[in-house]
Amino acid sequence: MPWRRFRKKVERPIDVSKSIEESLEDAADGESEEDAAELAELDDATIAEAATGEPDDDRAPTELGEKLRGALDADAPHRGGPPRSAPRGIAVDRRLGAARSEDPHAASPSYPEAGVDLTVEAARGLRLKNPVMTASGTFGQGVEYAELFDVSRLGAIVNKGTTPAARPGNPQYRIAETPSGILNSIGLENPGAAEVARKYGKAWAELGVAVIVNVAGYSVDDYVFVVHEMTGTPGVVAYEINVSCPNVKGGMLFGCDPDLAAEVTRAVKAETDLPVIVKLTPNAPDVVAVARACEEAGADALTAINTVLGMRIDTRRRRPILGTGSGGLSGPAIRPIAVHITYQVAQAVSIPIIGAGGVTNAQDALEFLMAGASSVQVGTATFADPLAPLKVIEGLAAYVKEHSLASIRDVIGVALPAPED
């Protein structure tokens, strides 16, 4: 296959926690989906371990964040410096001053969602402890918001779109506010897959949060290359294939054409044993056809949706506000579009759907779940309220209790029409 030419051995992650890497490799060796499911379970245990200690102490996550920030000094050009040597394995718990507990779930009782069954199958082979993730591009690499709260409470995080090589991103302006939303045109600024793996693998293991890597590119080879580079990185539980970025030339191409979307899906599936999620674009002429093609090509889940193309004009300068002219609209403004697409796609495919678009609270999340999504991503809302993802988790837990449900899974798809015989 042509992409094999990329298979030069690029610098492997050096900061990784040995034990986690080993377990990931072990899991990656397996072929069945059960293995991947076990991997997700294993990550949950790791999550709980890392979160042990003083869960009711507001400062604990902050201190964790500060330490991570220190460890990530290279992230800041003006604070540059050589990468620090890696701590060994899960010994990070001690380094962070957190008490190790024998019970992996010991950390949770103080949180409102404790004891409520919020577990969902976010993708085939990917069970998450709750249905709330953070959306790509709105949560960086997870380490930034870790300064504010315990990110291990999240079902998962989706990292910033990762490309084969570093990208400087688009010209200014990159963001503009719109009614109940924002337009962005960042242009996938990221340090490139090898650097992401090297720099954040250790942090992801320390944060104890499941990480879904958002994979972006311009060609089938690009997507495969990124997945190849990220393979074995601690914390990574799945890949979200970004065939829907409206802000780079060709970024949306693969998401608009069912055949191309299927081709990317197949190629990435062949590269990894982890679940592969395809993020759909609402800008496709026939999003349901793309969804079906991805399912047939082996996708393990679909994210619905990426941003909606939009534009604002600066009337004083008489030109578009964004440097690239158009951008991607996100936030509550697009929620009805996203719920509708979720509703349509849910009737067309049998793989799990991850609802995304304007989720700000549990009610919004419930709309997506009832429309057929099995989990949601919180994105733009985090900019306004950094605690929005946690509030969604807490709100869903409260809903389950209030309605005496056995599980949050009981509401998935309840608003869908009854299947025809």
Partner: protein, 276 residues
């Protein structure tokens, strides 16, 4: 950096500069440093959606209070500027980098344009007891200047106005040269064209021999910059500018940069990145 529910305890209109909000926020005040900012939520709904960044205009650790200058521009600024005594304010901060005053600095020159006075006032209050401080402020008219009774008495205050309604007629760059010769270090905050003009002076000094008047101070200049901002947490990469070391986020690596590190183009920040 924390999330804190601040409480407005006083407000004041400062000419055309904006509304100054005094906010009780002991957590933020306890950590804040000159040049840093706080990201303020413009209301409890998601419309308008984005928080607004405001540089600290006063940091009173002992009292647990901060002051912000808010311009009632656009829906978000309107809402924040309309807060009154007793109102709550959702604060995220302090964020970003801060000014670093060298221990050896004896004569400190502060340069402010418009609401760029905010961090300069913090520095004036913080440094005027330790060294000689001169504040050079420029505005369109006298109504755009910071009132001198809200500055420490020991700070020398030099002003310029474009319409000549107060102080020296012109811009700060028309009055700065003699002050540069006096200063050991310069800190500046203001609109991009003002900062770019300082950048040109610095480049000139950088190329000139060591005897060039004001060379030392210009080379030691730190500036606080503004950029359209999203999350202010370093994740969205909306607020990047070009520096000597590549893209830098104004919310994280900034807002305070060494003047010599910031790349300008035609009085504005240099264009970031490439369009494919």
């Amino acid at each position: 950096m924390i999330l804190e529910d601040g409480r407005v305890i006083a407000t004041a209109e400062i000419g055309q500069l904006g509304t100054v909000l005094r906010v009780a926020a002991p957590g933020v005040a306890g950590q804040a440093r000159a040049g840093q900012f706080v990201h303020v939520r413009p209301g409890p709904s998601f419309d308008p959606l984005l928080r607004r960044p405001y540089s600290f205009n006063r940091i009173d650790r002992a009292a647990g209070e901060i002051e912000l200058i808010v311009k009632a521009l656009g829906a978000g600024g309107d809402w924040i500027a309309a807060r009154r005594e007793g109102d709550r304010l959702d604060l995220l901060g302090p964020l970003g980098s801060s000014f670093v005053i060298q221990r050896a600095t004896r004569n400190l020159l502060l340069v402010a344009g418009g609401t760029g006075i905010a961090p300069m006032r913090v520095l004036a209050e913080q440094e005027s007891g330790r060294r000689n401080v001169t504040l050079l402020m420029g505005g369109r008219s006298v109504a755009h200047l910071w009132p001198s009774d809200r500055l420490p008495a020991t700070v020398e205050y030099v002003t310029t106005t474009e319409d000549g309604s107060f102080g020296i007629e012109g811009r700060v760059t028309d009055a700065i040269r003699p002050l540069l010769e006096w200063a050991d270090q310069v800190c500046a905050c203001g609109p991009w064209p003002m900062l770019a003009a300082l950048g040109r002076l610095r480049d000139e000094a950088d190329r000139a021999p060591g005897t060039y008047p004001g060379r030392v101070a210009l080379l030691e200049t730190q500036i606080a910059v503004e950029q359209h901002m999203g999350c202010a947490m370093g994740v969205c990469r909306a607020c990047v500018i070009v520096t000597a070391e590549g893209n830098a986020r104004v919310c994280r690596e900034g807002p305070v940069f060494a003047l010599g590190d910031v790349r300008f183009a035609d009085g504005e920040p240099a264009t970031v990145g490439v369009t494919d």
